[in-house]
């Protein structure tokens, strides 16, 4: 077996173009996904069945089916309806880029909503009570205590979700988008060097995920700095 890695050098600029597309896809869907996720998470917490039922079904559907099906549903499925093809949304739904963004956003928002819910519910009841005892208004309580707390709790899981999204974004290549994977596949169709090019693409994904992990470790350290150093140990009860 002879591997010829000179093709990697030759096509590296094109792989970088694909990388940029991947980064755009991930960033846009992560930001939009977080915006969609917050109201879903808040509604999901509600004890009222009418309010929590719809988010529950939404989350269950998007977490229980493959992302590939969801992408195909948006990209190919939407065009089945005359009404969609004539609506103002059609110029967007015709573009694979926006279809990928829609599918990714819905998918990641379902996962993110569950992460947010877990974080909000993980704040000890005592902290809410303490805020009330201090005479804080509800706004102050959320602004000063609860949201910063939830943010600190959410970080590790949210970092994981971004990496999962990064890997899931490779599916955009199935609807003709030239993201990193898509670009690799087009290069391979021309050069017939699957191992070299795919390994190079894999290495780029790896570098991006290591970068994300690193950034999140920094934010986490900053956000949870009030937890102090390990030298302060709270003695166990009993």
């Amino acid at each position: 077996m002879e591997l010829d890695f000179s093709v990697v050098i030759e096509y590296f600029p094109r792989l970088l173009t694909g990388t940029w597309m991947t980064i755009k896809l991930v960033l846009l869907s992560i930001v939009l996904g977080a915006i969609v996720a917050l109201p879903i998470a808040l509604a999901r917490i509600s004890k009222n069945w009418f309010i929590s039922g719809v988010p529950f079904a939404f989350i269950f559907f998007f977490r229980g089916t493959p992302l590939l099906v969801q992408i195909f549903l948006v990209y190919y499925g939407a065009s089945q309806f005359e009404a969609v093809r004539e609506s103002f949304l059609w110029p967007m739904l015709r573009e694979p880029f926006w279809c990928a963004i829609i599918a990714f956003t819905l998918n990641t928002s379902a996962y993110t909503a569950e992460i947010f819910r877990g974080a909000i519910q993980a704040i000890p009841e005592g902290e809410v009570e303490a805020c009330k005892v201090m005479g804080m208004t509800k706004m102050q309580m959320y602004h000063r205590i609860l949201l910063p707390r939830a943010f600190g709790i959410v970080l590790p899981a949210y970092g994981n979700e971004i990496i999962l999204m990064l890997k899931a974004s490779a599916l955009a290549s199935t609807i003709t988008l030239l993201d990193l994977t898509g670009m690799a596949r087009t290069i391979i169709a021309r050069t017939y060097t699957p191992i070299e090019i795919f390994l190079a693409a894999g290495a780029i994904y790896l570098v991006i995920s290591i970068f994300v992990i690193y950034i999140f470790r920094l934010i986490e350290k900053r956000q949870n700095r009030y937890l102090g150093t390990l030298s302060i140990k709270v003695p166990d009860k009993g």
Binding site: M1, F60, F61, G64, T65, P66, L67, L68, V69, Q70, F72, L73, Y76, G77, A78, S79, Q80, F81, I163, L166, K167, A168, S169, A170, L171, S173, T174, T181, A184, R185, I188, P194, I195, F198, L199, A201, G202, Y205, L206, S209, I210
Partner: protein, 229 residues
């Protein structure tokens, strides 16, 4: 009722393939996971390095890319190996074998972490008690450690299986005749993409629900020694 234009049977056949693929990958993945966890916890440094390298690479690369690398790369690698032994015929690996390899490797990498946590959660006293009773290390592992690891690891493994089930759809990209592929064929014949992809989605959803029920039952069974009253 839904009109599937006679593609219902095809979709069900696809579901059969999807289930086979998921179960085969599960077996491969569980074995790799146990091996990986043992390697990470072993005192032999090179074994730790190999296991860390394996989990870092697999977890950092998209599953679709893993499937593609194995499907398109395995032929080259296998032919190179066969060439060493003087075998010059063309070797091709089918989408099913490639899928089991890729998904098994992925599952194994994540399962390594789950099993490592579970192995570490077993109190030291359990090991000591087994040794004190004069158990052979292998016997200690299968009789005492593994059943407890199983109980601790089950929720994590269950989640991984749900992920695996959804990842099987990726293998349709290299031509495996699973639910997704059958849906694609139906769509190109009937021009009703929304209907068939939605049916496919609900088939995956049904498989997910069944798996959740089975995992719940297994969890209950595995912790029956702990429930009180």
């Amino acid at each position: 009722m839904l009109d599937l234009h006679g593609f219902g049977d095809q979709l069900l056949q696809g579901a059969g393939i999807t289930i086979q693929l998921a179960l085969c990958s599960l077996v491969v993945g569980l074995i790799l996971g146990l091996l990986g966890a043992s390697a990470k916890l072993s005192h032999i440094k090179p074994l730790q390095w190999i296991a860390n390298f394996y989990t870092t690479i697999i977890r950092g690369v998209p599953e679709l890319l893993t499937v593609l690398i194995i499907y398109f790369g395995a032929t080259t690698v296998l032919m190179a190996i066969a060439g060493v032994f003087g075998y010059e015929e063309y070797i091709e690996i089918g989408p099913f074998a490639a899928g089991v390899t890729a998904l098994g490797l992925t599952f194994g990498a994540y399962a390594t972490e789950v099993f490592r946590g579970a192995l570490q959660a077993i109190p030291k006293g359990q090991h000591e008690a087994a040794i004190a009773l004069g158990m052979h290390p292998r016997r200690k592992f299968f009789r005492i450690i593994l059943p407890q690891v199983w109980r601790v690891a089950l929720p994590g493994i269950g989640n991984l299986f749900l992920v695996l089930l959804k990842d099987t759809a990726l293998v349709s990209v290299v031509g495996l005749e699973d639910i997704m592929r059958k849906a694609n064929v139906a769509v190109s014949n009937t021009k009703e993409p929304f209907l068939f992809y939605l049916v496919a989605a609900f088939m995956y959803l049904a498989l997910t629900i069944v798996s959740m029920v089975v995992v719940h039952y297994l969890e209950k069974r595995a912790s029956r020694g702990l429930t009180r009253g």
